[in-house]
């Protein structure tokens, strides 16, 4: 029977009530008395040298408070990068400055040049049009391979070239890798593109800066996944403010998907300008502005080679990737193509020799950073495409080929720096075969063919590394931050509990799922526990929500803090019950003396903690505990996905007919929420595979800068999904045994969709070797008819 409360129950989300009644509190819903509005004048060319900026006319326009340019920020730090990658020769990555407002050059369409603060947004916009710009246009650096050549135009004049780093992981001895490939019975090679995407959370970014002269305090309201990270970066690296004078609030946030992790220039600007203008300053991104200022995702061009022996065992893997970083280093951009990508190239397979090579490139495009999955989708896509291609070339069943090469012994040290603690890849594949009725595929294909359609089945396996991760390890790899998290469990006198957490909920349902854990541990009703998040003045210093880490890392801190609370409460209960602490048991909200009928209720103990009249003198009054948790390892969710598509041979139109996911997330707190996370990831993955493409022309003009041009998946582009997470190998190193589920869908689905399309295009007499995402009708039609 499913549980109806606590860990394992599909508790309905309490936050839904405010969202369903229009009572949410998103950043754009916040207006501060006396606020002015800022409009950013952004570059409409990809690359140019700023000759002059004349703001005099704009300054005289109605309602204008102040006009800012790069000159106003010359004494201020630039936007920092949080991860220093070391290249394969041991040198640090090239790290160019990233000013708040452009200085000297503009480097991408959307690069902010000037900012107008005015009484109204309309007045700010009108005045921005009166700014006179003289910018000498320069050739745009767009093609990554060309950009890597000597003599290419430089995005940053002070750098030696456009290569941020040339990085390698795995086998360093090229000759050894060459030898593996030379001795292989079969080598499968694939060149592919992982298309540039825009995360597009439905809520555009917003920032409201406020400064209080009387106390010299700042408040920044912002659409962030990690308010403490924003405060630290902005204070320490950009504005030089003491952290204790700055409060960062991320209230209800309308989706993030990674793109709201990063510290953005607009946040620093609004905070800075609030003091400079002595007025609160608000910025609300338009969607078009979001397309040219939110960090983009993916954008890799890769060559992958898989070597197999005569028995079809994987014996070697080599990849060469060009990763686009855009014009500047966004906060965690440098870590994505490296430690979040190269480390996953082993996938679910026991390939003994792996070499990953990545050149990260500066181009005249919007900065690229983490988007749902962040490096792991790029790794999975390459690997699972090449495995499928190998199966086709060898004429073997793609599932059998995968099963044959699965890692089955744990813990497993990969050749690319990770140790998988646990997993059961055959287990998830078994679940998938049943859930997706793979045995019935042949009949369904025959039926489609009878209707004049091609039908394909695509299989994909994935593993991801979540819950990032041990601070000492990531520190060695170049992270400039710790990656622990924190929780404070504050028990109130009457027994209700406020839990202040470093994680941030922007759709994940923490306000419901986290209380399930605490309530379960104590044995009280979930409604007695409430989560507080998103405000640096209320919560302990936590690192926020990304990389499917909230429950695995912050949830672990919450468990530890709750354990401390229970330990102390037992001391108080022992005193009240005149028993030894060692004999006290807590169950269903009652402390009892083992083997007796003596007990005292949770609420009586908590009241005693705050009204300590009859109280153990050696124990401090009150009942509030904080814990920080630094993981011992990553967590390793894994799974197997199956997609069935129909292709219309007349038009090239692809329809997703069925999509099934079998995931292993370890233990699960709220199955309903987990299912929802997988659904959303699959939706985004189908979007990447079939629809979405952030397109630039050769001059660096952004061609897809609105929802008219960037094809977001809509309700009629996707089917109902089948989701199974009954195959569970609990994480071995965190207290809940959880692994994280937020990114799996987006990692596992694109290769399943494309493999299905290629399966269809290799049926009915067709033989198409390759196709790139997005698999649009025109591409499919061209591939079929070339």
């Amino acid at each position: 029977m499913p549980k109806d409360s606590g860990i394992g129950a599909s508790s309905k989300r309490r936050e839904d009530v405010r969202f369903l009644t229009g009572a949410g509190n998103y950043t754009d819903d916040i207006n501060v008395h006396g606020q002015a509005y800022v409009h950013f004048l952004r570059s409409d060319i990809a690359h140019g040298r700023i000759k002059s900026i004349d703001t005099s006319a704009a300054e005289g326009m109605p309602g204008v408070v102040k006009v800012f340019t790069g000159k106003d920020f010359e004494g201020v730090g630039g936007m920092p990068c949080g991860w220093e990658v070391t290249d394969k020769h041991g040198a640090p990555m090239q790290e160019p400055p990233h000013p708040i407002l452009a200085q000297g050059k503009v480097r991408h369409v959307g690069d902010p040049i000037a900012a107008v603060v005015a009484d109204s947004l309309e007045q700010a916009r009108d005045a921005a049009e009166a700014i006179d710009l003289d910018i000498e246009e320069l050739p745009a650096v767009m093609n990554m391979k060309a950009a890597a050549q000597d003599g290419s135009t430089l995005v940053h004049d002070d750098l030696k070239n456009n290569i941020c780093y040339d990085w390698q992981l795995g086998e360093t001895d090229d000759a050894k890798v060459d030898e593996v490939f030379a001795n292989a019975a079969h080598v499968t090679t694939l060149d592919l593109v992982n298309n540039r995407l825009v995360a597009n959370p439905m809520e555009p970014r917003v920032a409201v800066g406020e400064y209080k002269r009387g106390t010299d305090d700042y408040t920044l309201f912002t659409t962030s996944q990690n308010p403490h990270v924003i405060r630290l970066l902005m204070c320490a690296f950009v504005l030089g403010l003491p952290e204790h004078k700055v409060r960062v609030v991320a209230p209800d946030v309308g989706g993030g998907f990674g793109t709201k992790i990063f510290h953005y220039a607009e946040e620093a600007f609004c905070t800075f300008a609030a003091k400079a203008c002595n007025r609160p300053v608000k910025w609300t991104s338009s969607r078009s502005e979001a397309f040219m200022s939110d960090a983009h995702g993916r954008d890799h061009v890769s060559k992958i080679e898989l070597a197999l022996d005569a028995d079809n065992n994987f014996i070697g893997l080599r990849t060469n990737t060009y990763a686009n970083l855009g014009a500047y280093l966004s906060t965690f951009s440098s870590s994505v193509p490296t430690w979040l990508h190269g480390t996953l190239m082993a996938g679910n397979y026991k390939t003994p020799v792996i070499q990953v090579n990545v050149k990260a490139m500066f181009t005249n495009t919007v900065p690229v950073d983490a988007y749902r999955g962040a490096g792991r989708p790029e790794a999975t896509y390459q690997l699972e495409r090449v495995v499928d291609k190998a199966a086709r070339e060898l004429g073997v069943d793609p599932i059998a080929l995968r099963r044959q090469n699965f890692i089955t012994q744990f813990p497993y040290d990969t050749p690319v720096a990770l140790t998988y603690d646990t997993g059961d890849y055959n287990g998830t594949m078994d679940k998938l075969e049943v859930a997706a009725d793979l045995a019935g595929f042949a009949a369904r294909r025959a039926e489609s063919e009878a209707n004049g359609k091609l039908r394909g089945l695509g299989i994909n396996c994935y593993i991801e590394a979540c819950g990032i991760a041990p601070s000492n390890i990531v520190g060695m790899l170049g992270a400039r931050a710790g990656l622990y998290d924190a929780a404070t469990v504050r028990v109130n006198a009457t027994g209700s509990i406020s839990v202040m957490v470093g994680a941030h909920s922007h759709g994940q349902g923490h306000e419901t799922a986290f209380p399930q854990v605490v309530a379960d541990m104590i044995g009280i009703d979930e409604s007695m526990v409430e989560i507080v998040h998103g405000d640096t003045s209320k919560i302990p210093f936590g690192m926020g929500t990304y990389g499917s880490r909230s429950l695995a890392v912050c949830g672990s801190a919450m468990v530890k803090a709750t354990e401390k609370v229970i330990e102390k409460a037992k001391k108080i209960a022992a005193h009240l019950l005149e028993a030894s602490e060692a004999d006290i048991e807590l169950k269903d909200g009652q402390f009892s003396v083992a083997g007796t009928d003596k007990s005292v209720a949770w609420g009586d103990v908590t009241l005693t903690a705050y009204v300590p009249h009859n109280y153990p003198l050696e124990v401090e009054p009150g009942l509030e505990e904080t814990a920080f948790y630094d993981p011992a390892n990553f967590t390793y969710p894994a799974g197997a996905y199956a997609c069935e598509v129909e292709v219309d041979p007349e038009t090239g139109q692809v329809t997703v007919e069925a999509f099934n996911a079998a995931d292993d997330f370890g233990n699960i707190v709220n199955p309903m929420i987990v299912d929802g996370q997988v659904h959303g990831g699959i939706g985004q993955g189908i979007g990447q595979a079939l629809l979405e493409n952030c397109a630039y022309d050769e001059n660096g003009q952004l061609l897809s800068a609105s929802f008219m041009d960037y094809a977001m998946p809509r309700a009629d582009d996707v089917p109902f999904y089948g989701v199974d997470h009954s195959s569970q190998t609990p994480c071995t190193h965190n207290p809940l045994g959880v692994k994280g589920c937020g990114e799996a869908g987006a990692i596992g689905s694109p290769p399943a969709v494309v493999n299905a399309v290629l399966d269809a295009l290799n049926s009915g007499g067709k033989a198409v070797e390759h196709i790139d995402m997005p698999v649009s009708p025109s591409r499919v039609w061209a591939a079929m008819n070339s």
Binding site: R18, L20, G22, M202, G254, G676, D724
Partner: protein, 161 residues
């Protein structure tokens, strides 16, 4: 500035607006009805859907002045008289039809308009009707399921919630 008057969620309201003020802006800024969200600038996302004289309308695509004298309904007016969730809202909660909540007001308002004209829509009809409402969180699965459930259909055979 021009004076505009309308009925919003049963109450008569008025305000002074510029000619270029959108209905979404009037609702959010003048009336502080911030449940109506603005997610794009090309009338594609549907987060701003409200009812104008009983029809679902993208309020970012209509001038406030065009709504002069109209009967406007927003998400804030959808709950039952006693404050409890209405059938559609309750179905969204029961079936986890929302995550971040940003598209949700528009989804609920569109769903209400759909069920008014088609009380028992098929899955395909729901999906087709929602083509003007973008959601980035749910993959639409539970939204479609919630709307079908709100129409009184048995959705228990549809895969997991």
């Amino acid at each position: 500035m021009t004076k505009v008057s309308m009925t919003v969620n049963g109450k008569t309201v008025s305000g002074d607006v510029e000619g270029r003020t959108l209905l979404s802006g009037f609702l959010r800024e003048n009336l502080n009805l911030t449940g109506t969200h603005v997610g794009c600038d090309t009338a594609q996302c549907g987060a701003c859907v409200v009812h104008v004289n009983g029809e679902a309308v993208k309020s970012c695509n209509m001038l406030a002045l065009e709504a002069d004298g109209a009967d406007v309904g927003t998400i804030e007016g959808q709950a039952n008289q006693d404050g409890s969730l209405n059938v559609i809202q309750q179905a969204f909660q029961d079936h986890h039809g929302l995550q971040c909540g940003f598209c949700t007001p528009g989804m609920v308002m569109s769903a209400a308009a759909l069920l008014k004209e088609n009380p028992r829509p098929t899955e395909a009809e729901v999906r087709k009707y929602l083509e003007g409402n973008l959601c980035r969180c749910t993959g639409y699965h539970n939204i479609v399921k919630a709307i079908m459930a709100a129409s009184g259909q048995d959705v228990s055979s549809i895969a997991a919630e």
